[in-house]
């Protein structure tokens, strides 16, 4: 079972600020979901964990840089910018 303290810690790692009200609403929901997930442990499962979903396993593109022709369209999407640079607040 998760505690409110656990939830606060996980939310911090997930970089999501939660209000007290949201915490109170989410906590029982999370514990309900965890109970559901616990059911997987009831089965004798295959030992293998490798899942191959593609026929192109191990294929990679050539590691060659290409110029994106619409650079300005990317810059336009920066929510806050100085000239052609995205503005980032101080780290601390």
């Amino acid at each position: 079972m998760l505690t409110k303290e656990d939830l606060g810690h996980i939310a911090k790692i997930a970089r999501i600020a939660l209000t007290e009200e949201e915490m109170n609403e989410l906590l029982p929901q999370f514990n309900g979901i965890l109970q559901l997930l616990e059911r997987v442990k009831q089965l004798p499962l295959a030992e293998a964990t490798a899942i191959v979903m593609t026929e192109n396993e191990g294929e990679f593109r050539e590691d060659v840089a290409k110029t994106f022709e619409d650079y300005d369209l990317i810059v336009e999407q920066f929510p806050k910018k100085r000239g052609r640079y995205a503005e980032v607040p101080p780290n601390l």
């Binding site: 997930a14 999370f30 295959a46 293998a48 979903m53 026929e55 593109r61």
Partner: protein, 473 residues
């Protein structure tokens, strides 16, 4: 809801031009969409310009493959220069600088794009109610949910606002709204359609696919959408004969599988509809085989164990710095955390936090457990497909439910995915088609087959459309 072949024929023989056809669709859109809320962004000007160009191409004998058929695109696919919101406040004003491969293919094959369709926020939902732009309503009865997450796609096709729609399916997001709105929806084999330009929910599960009024529309769309794309390295280097084989279904050469595990606990009307489909194929000469899927229930929790961490990882790029919603704060951490707090809805936060929890080093066992369960499922289906060619099941355990009925109970909401998630976890194709009605609400039935037998499933639905009849109660 006119059938796709008839519409194509009207355009090809000159009875109607692509521009005239588009105006018919716009008239329906203007009449129905204020109530249904299927569209987030309408691209009427772009569509009219496209239609004018295709008028000329068709006049000169060209226009393949779509001849000006009208498409709606789920709003998690990029179309350069047109807002792409993913149904979220986070991307309320985001304009992508490039176009998704499936969308590019629609455009280059003379499909007209009428707009971007409403959806559950970041495709996280089974009911179409979690969009920042308001819930979509069911096209058959607006008091009911349209299913999700491709909610706008299901409603727009069913209402006749578009001929075809492009959706995406991670745990049932094409099939669920197809079932609830009474249209056909195909979740292709994983990798058959490129995901380039699709905002990812869970990379090992996501697949784009079409919704259409009928199986012919699905075949027509898939002939174009499928194929290898160097920009998506998991895309398959093969093409399946969708249109070529659409009328070649031979029931006497097909073994149909049915499993009590897929029927227990479902709504009685849904069960009767599914049995009606099985009886139909049996009456046409198919061998019906009981298949053993004893532990299929494990797919449901396994899906969430796989999806949550993949989703949390996919969402890390939304930080308010490069694009999307931003709340200014004194530090980088607070800017990111507050941007995400304000930009994401409840279900998104729930999934990111659960995914972060499962991804933590001390919980690594959870993810390993999920991969082992996934392998178990894969083996279970491989064994079943040694005995049968197609497995029949309901698409959703219940008929459509009322708006607001499950919105505060995530586990109950997740139950809607119980029968659709196995196909995503195992990468196999699955199609939902309207097979019955209860109280004037549609009930979909699902056909699943081995990987790369998508075309067989489409031809089976086509056969049912031509030779069968829908259950009604």
């Amino acid at each position: 809801m006119p059938m796709i072949e008839e519409t194509l024929e009207r355009i090809r023989n000159g009875e109607i031009t692509p521009s005239e056809h588009l105006e018919e669709k716009i008239e329906i859109l203007e009449r129905r969409d204020p109530e249904l809320n299927a569209f987030i962004t309408k691209t009427l000007d772009i569509a009219r310009e496209q239609a004018r160009q295709i008028d000329g191409v068709v006049r000169e004998g060209g226009g393949e493959a779509f001849y000006g058929l009208v498409w709606g695109i789920k709003d998690n696919f990029a179309l350069k220069g047109v807002r792409m919101t993913c149904g979220s406040k986070m991307l309320e004003n985001y304009v992508p600088p490039y176009t998704a491969t499936p969308v590019e293919k629609i455009l280059s094959n003379h499909g007209i794009i009428l707009g971007k369709l409403n959806m559950d926020e970041f495709a996280c939902g089974s009911s179409g109610e979690t969009s920042y732009f308001g819930p979509t309503k069911n096209a058959r009865n607006p008091e009911y949910v349209p299913g999700g997450s491709s909610s706008g796609a299901g409603a727009a096709v069913a209402a006749g606002m578009v001929d075809l729609a492009l959706g995406s399916d991670t745990g049932g997001s094409i099939r669920n709204p197809a079932s609830f709105n009474g249209v056909v929806g195909l979740k292709p084999t994983y990798g058959l359609v490129s995901r380039y330009g699709l905002a990812d929910l869970a990379m090992s599960l996501d697949v784009p696919g079409p919704l259409a009024p009928d199986a012919y529309g699905i075949a027509l769309a898939m002939d174009v959408l499928q194929g290898y794309d160097p920009r998506d390295r998991v895309s398959a280097k093969r093409k399946l004969p969708f249109l070529r084989s659409v009328d070649s279904f031979d029931p006497e050469r097909v073994r149909i599988g049915i499993s009590e595990s897929l029927l227990s606990g479902v709504d009685p009307a849904v069960r009767r509809t599914t049995e009606h489909v099985v009886n139909f194929f049996e009456s046409k000469g198919s061998e019906i085989v009981e298949v053993d899927l004893p532990d299929i229930w494990v797919a449901f929790p396994t899906y969430y164990l796989v999806m949550y961490p993949e989703f949390a990882s996919a969402m890390q790029k939304f930080d308010g710095i490069k694009f999307g919603h931003r709340v200014d704060a004194d530090t980088l951490y607070d800017t990111v955390a507050r941007s995400r707090e304000e930009g994401f809805g409840k279900e998104i936060k729930r999934r990111i936090i659960m995914g972060t929890f499962i991804s933590m080093a001390k919980n690594a066992e959870w993810y390993k457990l999920a991969l082992r369960a996934r392998t178990t499922l894969l083996q279970m289906f491989q064994n079943a497909f040694r005995k049968v060619d197609i497995i029949v099941s309901p698409t959703v355990p219940t008929p459509p439910f009322k708006l607001g009925e499950r919105v505060n109970d995530p586990v109950k909401m997740y139950m809607a995915d119980a029968l659709t998630v196995p196909a995503n976890l195992t990468g196999i194709p699955a199609i939902s088609f309207p097979a019955g009605w209860k109280d004037d609400l549609p009930i979909g039935v699902q056909l699943m087959g081995p990987r790369f037998t998508d075309h067989v499933l489409v031809s089976a639905v086509r056969f049912f459309e031509k030779e069968g009849s829908q259950w009604s109660e």
